[in-house]
């Protein structure tokens, strides 16, 4: 587990009229829990969208596990073992909770073009689905439709789906947003346990969570990397305090 899980060089994304991500050089060490923080609109989600190729970079290069991924599409990034969650929880609303996780497992099952078998063959996945749901505390909700879940449980479902792929790199966009303090504890523990043997990059506004979980913190401001380091170093940096204070007064 040496080397870099993710390396970007000169990563830039401009939308019409302004630059959302500006010449960002990030290096995420394999096996670490890495936090990307910064005020609202700093470009954190955009960085995730660039890393997963949901947005094409304007310029710059992205390496994942040492491989240049410039030519790849989002599904190919996922197949490299990069799995993400979305800031606004992203589930399959009309499917049941069980089916939501199962559809992720189906990808490993090489079901993409299997249109001649009956779906009864999917029952081999049930056990794993139940394990994953139990891990995020959704064991009792398996038969519910995903759209009926309260927000916090939708987030948990999204994490279970993300984990189903057994990714080597996890990108979590504000996993704690909208969760109550009890759920935050649960999800923190979950992230810590799944981080064993994986790389986790998380965008998170809850700095207590960041302090507790993350080995390394990078601060983004107006699209640029302001500073990075351990949480203690970063949080003591006057420029960081300024960035957060300035934003909260704006």
């Amino acid at each position: 587990m040496d080397g870099w899980a993710i390396e970007t060089s000169g990563l830039t994304k401009s939308f019409v009229g302004f630059v959302a991500v500006n010449n960002v050089n990030l290096r995420v060490r394999k096996g670490s829990i890495f936090a990307l923080i910064g005020p609202n609109g700093a470009g954190k989600t955009t960085v995730f969208n660039l890393l997963t190729k949901f947005l094409p970079p304007t310029s710059g290069r992205i390496m994942i596990n040492g491989q240049d991924v410039s030519a790849l599409k989002p599904h190919a990034i996922a197949r490299l073992g990069v799995s993400r969650s979305f800031q606004i929880s992203s589930v399959f609303p009309q499917l049941t909770v069980h089916e939501n996780v199962r559809v992720a497992l189906q990808r490993k099952n090489r079901d993409d073009f299997n249109f001649w078998q009956t779906d009864r063959c999917l029952s081999v996945l049930d056990e794993r689905v139940e394990e994953l749901l139990a891990a995020v505390g959704l064991g009792d909700y398996a038969r519910h439709q995903a759209s009926d879940l309260p927000y916090g449980r939708k987030r948990a479902l999204e994490i279970a789906t993300t984990l189903a792929l057994d990714p080597s790199i996890l990108l979590l966009d504000e996993p704690m947003a909208g969760l109550g303090s009890e759920d935050i504890k649960g999800v923190s523990a979950l992230i810590r346990s799944v981080a064993q043997g994986r790389t986790v990059v998380m965008v998170e506004h809850n700095l207590r969570v960041v302090a507790e979980l993350c080995d390394w913190v990078a601060v983004l401001q107006r699209g640029q990397l302001l500073t990075e380091g351990s949480y203690a170093d970063v949080s003591a940096n006057p420029a960081v305090i300024e960035a957060y204070m300035g934003n909260s007064h704006a």
Binding site: H75, F86, Q94, V103, Q106, D111, N114, W116, C121, L122
Partner: protein, 327 residues
């Protein structure tokens, strides 16, 4: 121990469900066999062909969430090809249908290849434009018979030892193809692929982030739908002994949308019912001429505004609500 009664209850429930399914299948089989002795066979042939077309279209519109305005291109071109093979080349009906259906695979791949990267209404517009090209070819090409179309297509099949089939025999011939097509669609919808297709329809971005090549999966679904739509058209040319510009024009693409919406989007039997209703209207209200089309328009508006799930969809929703309430 407390679990035992519940388990036996579930087992008994499963058993009675199995039994009920068997009874329904038997009843349907009896009805389908008796139908041509009670109802005008040509009407039934018409219903079956459009029911298959609508089911195939539902695969795209209902189960993949792709809005195609060009499916008449598959239905109509396959009707011409099958008619041509049977009439001019003298091929047996089964072979003519096979050739025409194979051509639809290719046409479906071409349409899909061009259109699939576009979203929503743009996808619809591109399929429409391409279907207009096919229509133009049908108008211009020498072998389609222009305004007259291909008439008097022989109904000589291998199963009838190349003797012309009667209307009633043709009904059973068409029914066989309908059942094959329907079972294929049922299998696709209830396959592992079908589940992935549903997830893409629900949330395309999420499906891509799970590693699914969304464009390719949609292309496969579109091509399967085009193929089966082509089969419906090919069978229609034989059963009806006729392939004309009506089969390939824009109005046909609109009609199949209507059939699916009336019957119920993303239901198995909805398109069959929708096709039966629309065809019955054309038959029994034909003296009102152009007013039937106005009525179609009104039905369309009512469907979109009042009962979006269509007839079968609304019944299904009602039943599951009642089941939910009685639990």
């Amino acid at each position: 121990m407390a679990m035992a009664p519940l388990e036996t209850k579930i087992a008994a429930a499963n058993g009675s469900v199995r039994q009920r399914q068997l009874i329904i299948i038997l009843l349907v089989a009896v009805a389908l066999s008796a139908a041509p002795f009670l109802i005008y066979p040509m009407f039934l042939i018409n219903v079956l062909c459009f029911a298959l077309f609508a089911c195939a279209f539902n695969l795209v519109m209902g189960y993949s969430g792709l809005l195609s305005f060009g499916h008449a291109a598959f239905f109509g071109s396959a009707a011409y090809i099958s008619g041509y093979c049977a009439k001019t080349m003298g091929l047996p009906a089964e072979l003519a249908i096979l050739v025409a259906t194979s051509c639809s695979v290719v046409l479906g791949l071409i349409f899909g290849w061009v259109a699939i990267r576009k979203q929503g209404i743009y996808f619809g517009m591109i399929t429409l434009a391409m279907a207009q090209v096919v229509y133009f070819i049908a108008v211009q090409a020498p072998f389609t018979g222009g305004e007259d179309g291909l008439q008097g297509v022989p109904r000589k099949a291998l199963v009838s030892a190349m003797a012309p089939m009667s209307d009633r025999q043709s009904y059973f011939f068409v029914l066989a193809f309908f059942l094959i097509g329907f079972c294929i669609i049922y299998r696709i919808v209830h396959s592992p692929f079908g589940h992935i297709l549903r997830s893409i329809k629900e949330n395309e971005t999420r499906a891509a982030s799970l590693g699914y090549d969304v464009d390719r999966i949609k292309l496969i679904a579109f091509t399967l739908s085009a193929t089966l739509s082509g089969m419906a058209g090919a069978v229609k040319a034989i059963g009806f002994q006729l392939a004309t510009l009506t089969d390939v024009e824009f109005f046909m693409s609109g009609e199949v949308v209507l059939m699916v919406l009336v019957g119920g989007l993303a239901t198995m039997t909805g398109p069959v019912l929708g096709a039966a209703i629309i065809i019955a209207m054309q038959y029994y209200l034909s003296e009102f001429g152009i007013w039937v089309k106005a009525l179609h328009g009104m039905i369309f508006i009512v469907c979109v505004m009042a009962f979006r799930r269509g007839i079968v969809g609304e019944i299904g929703a009602y039943l599951s609500r009642r089941r939910g309430a009685s639990d």
